[in-house]
Every structure is written in C-alpha cells, then in structure tokens.
Amino acid sequence: MFYGEWNNDGFFRELLTVTPETKNNARELWLKKVRRPKEIDEMIDDNTILVRRTLRSGQKIHFDGNVVIVGDVNPGAEIVASGHIIVLGTLRGVVHAGASGDEQAAVLAFRLQPTQLRIANHITRPPDDESTGPEQPEIARIKDNVVTIEVFQSSDRSGNLI
C-alpha cells in the first residue's frame, strides 16, 4: 500500500516509500492510502535507488538493484549493483553492474571515464594512453560476450534503452 491521490488533471501523485517520515508527510498533504492502478504498477521498478550527491573517494554503494547517481562518481569511489548503474554526471570511479551475474546489465553515464568497469563477470579498464572518450553520454554493456562502449542514443526507439 502506498500513499497517493489523483490530481485534477488525472495524474496520479504518490509517495513511494513507507518510512515514518513519508507517512507523516503524506498525512500532512492529506494523501489517502490507495491501491496503485495496475498500469502504473507495471511501470514501477521498486528496485532502484536514487543517490542525489557526488560519490567521493572511499564512498561505496552496494545495492541489490539499479543505482542512479545524480552527481559524479570520483576516483576511489565504488558502486556495486546487481542491476544497471546510471550516472547523471561524470563516472571516474569503479563500477560493477550486474554484480550477481546479470549479463544484461548496463552502465550509463553522461561522461564515462571509469577507473575500472565491470559487468557481471567481465572486467575492463581504459587503455593506458590518456585519450578521453567523446564529450557525450555513453553506455557500456555486454555484446557478443565483450564489454562494448557506445555513444548513448536516446533517439533509438528500437526497444528498451538499457
């Protein structure tokens, strides 16, 4: 059960977590406990965390699910996730997507410059010459059993983006 209400424009507003703080806030906003509509239920992936800060050296996120960082991931920081890792910023640290063996997991970053990038049981590192990648979002995923890095094409409507 979640807290929520329908807006006048037909949009469903809800609070996703059920921590005591959320319950309090929901009560103050006069939100009622409602059952979530089925079509929204299908869109929701409970297994994602949003981190709204820059990860600095020595900071580590270990999560069973997807991780979204709004900020940078600095060298010496580490993210280990069983799902996808998305960095809305510059990724310079170590990331491990699909850490429990999911070869479909992807790593996406506005600037993909990781110290080391791992997906499932593949480990890669950038070449030793100091060439930096393109100044645009890139996505890393396993294709034909190799970790492949490509420019992220959000216009590609062929299906799931990641």
Binding site: S57, P75, T115, I123
Partner: protein, 263 residues
C-alpha cells in the same frame, strides 16, 4: 633471504609513498623480486603513484578476510617483471586489518619475494601499528622541517619500543641552497637530533611531481637528481657502499658538468 622493510615517517606529506614507489621500482630494476604493500587502508595512494589504480580487483582486506588468494590480489607492474603491488582497500578503515594478520601476510610475501616494502600511513595509531607489525627493518622518511623531524623522532621511539631498532633515515626534499643560507635545517642538524644512520638524502626536484602524476617512478629517470639519489639509496639497501651525493650544485664545475650533461 628476504627483507621486510616498512617506510614510515609519522608526519604526512613528507614522501613515504613516493619513497616506497621509487625504492621498490629501483630494486626491481636491479632484477630483484619486490612487492610493495600499501598499508594505508582508507587513503590508498601507492596504486595511483604506480599508475596501477585501474588494475585493482582485490585488495589487502580481501586477502586477510579470505575472499581471495594472495596471488590474486597482487598487481604486476607495467614496467618491471619482478615488481608487484598489494593495494590497500579504499572503502574500509584501518580497523579492517589487525597486526596479527599483517604479520602473517608479510611472512607469506617473504616466502616469494626478496624485498617486501610496506608503505605506512601517516600517524601513530592503528594504521601505523599494523604497518610495522610484520616488518623486520624500518626506513624513516623526514623533510628538513622542525615538525617533520619532531614526528620522525617520535616514530623512531615507537619503532624502538616495537623492537625495530636502528631504523635508517632518508631526508627528503632538501634544498641545498636554503641550507647554505641557513634558512633550512641541514643534514647534520637532523642527524644530531635523531641519532640514526643516514640512508640517503633526496633533493627537492620538480621532476618528482611530474613523474608521480604520470604514474612513473623518478628513479627510472637517468637525468634527474632525485632519481640519482633514489638509485644510490637502492644500492645502499642492497648492501653496496655508495658515497653520499654531492648536493652542492652551485659550484662552477658542477654547473659546467650539468651543462655538458655529466651530472
């Protein structure tokens, strides 16, 4: 017969990591089997200085906690066959390893390597106690500053208390010109206070910054004075008697020699 040597200083920023990297690289360049152990858990740097950061998969705590075998955590140097690094963990703290675990680790490494060099963290707390636990010898690094010498003195006392007697001293970042003008402590002043054997003196050198940022060791730079100083120290560690380098580079002859490339 292998040697387990800890590089320590008490004060931070005097050049422990740079010294460890250069001595290790120098020993390896003579064909020795060398392993560098980064004991600075939580603030690891040695991997960055060695340019090996992006190769790290397992670290020292993975070894002590049994997540991997020692062999798996060792990172081979880019340049020298016989040089390896055991990196510290970055996302843990000093309490992740105990002195007893360090002792065992050092003993295991000594089975396979001729030189085990341990890069000690700054301070005298648990990180320091871990770093010195498995060592047989100690190198104390200091700079010609009152605070650094004071801390070195404290550390020498602690080393002696831990049965690491008669550590060898490296004076780092000395500026001969300032010493001559009486603006900086001289080698004799420092030895007077610390009363330990001098292993070497490394002059202040911009080249150190340049090579460190590149992940290379200045000891490989044939032309730099600090590289020469480190090479001399390496030979002294190997047991050779190498005279102290003449740091006075202001004389007309040394200037001339420099100009024609003979320094």
């Amino acid at each position: 017969m292998s040697e387990i040597i800890v590089v320590t200083s008490g004060k931070g920023g005097v050049g422990k990591t740079t010294t460890t990297a250069n001595l290790g690289t120098g020993l390896a360049s003579f064909g020795h089997k060398v392993v560098l152990v980064d004991a600075d858990i939580g603030l690891r740097n040695l991997d960055v200085v060695m340019g090996l950061e992006n190769r790290i998969v397992y670290d020292i705590t993975d070894v002590t906690e049994g997540h991997c075998r020692l062999r798996q955590a060792l990172i081979k140097d880019k340049r020298y066959e016989g040089l390896f690094l055991l990196p510290a963990a970055q996302t843990k703290d000093k309490t992740a390893v105990s002195p007893d675990q360090m002792k065992k680790l050092c003993a295991d490494l000594a089975q396979e390597f001729e030189y085990v060099l341990i890069d000690c963290p700054a301070g005298i707390e648990q990180g320091f106690r871990n770093a010195i636990a498995g060592a047989q010898k100690a190198i104390v690094v200091t700079t010609p500053e009152v605070a650094a010498v004071r801390d070195a003195d404290r550390v020498i006392g602690l080393l002696e208390a831990a049965e690491l007697r008669n550590p060898a001293l490296i004076i780092n970042r000395i500026r001969p010109k300032m010493v001559r003008h009486g603006d900086m402590m001289g080698i004799e002043d420092i030895i007077d206070i610390l009363a330990v054997d001098l292993l070497g003196v490394v002059p202040e050198d911009e080249q150190v910054v340049i090579s460190t940022n590149r992940g290379e060791a200045v000891v490989c730079d044939e032309r730099s004075r600090s590289g020469q100083a480190y090479r001399n120290i390496v030979r002294r560690i190997k047991g050779e008697a190498v005279p102290m380098m003449n740091l006075d580079d202001s004389g007309i002859f040394s200037r001339l020699r420099r100009i024609i490339g003979l320094r």
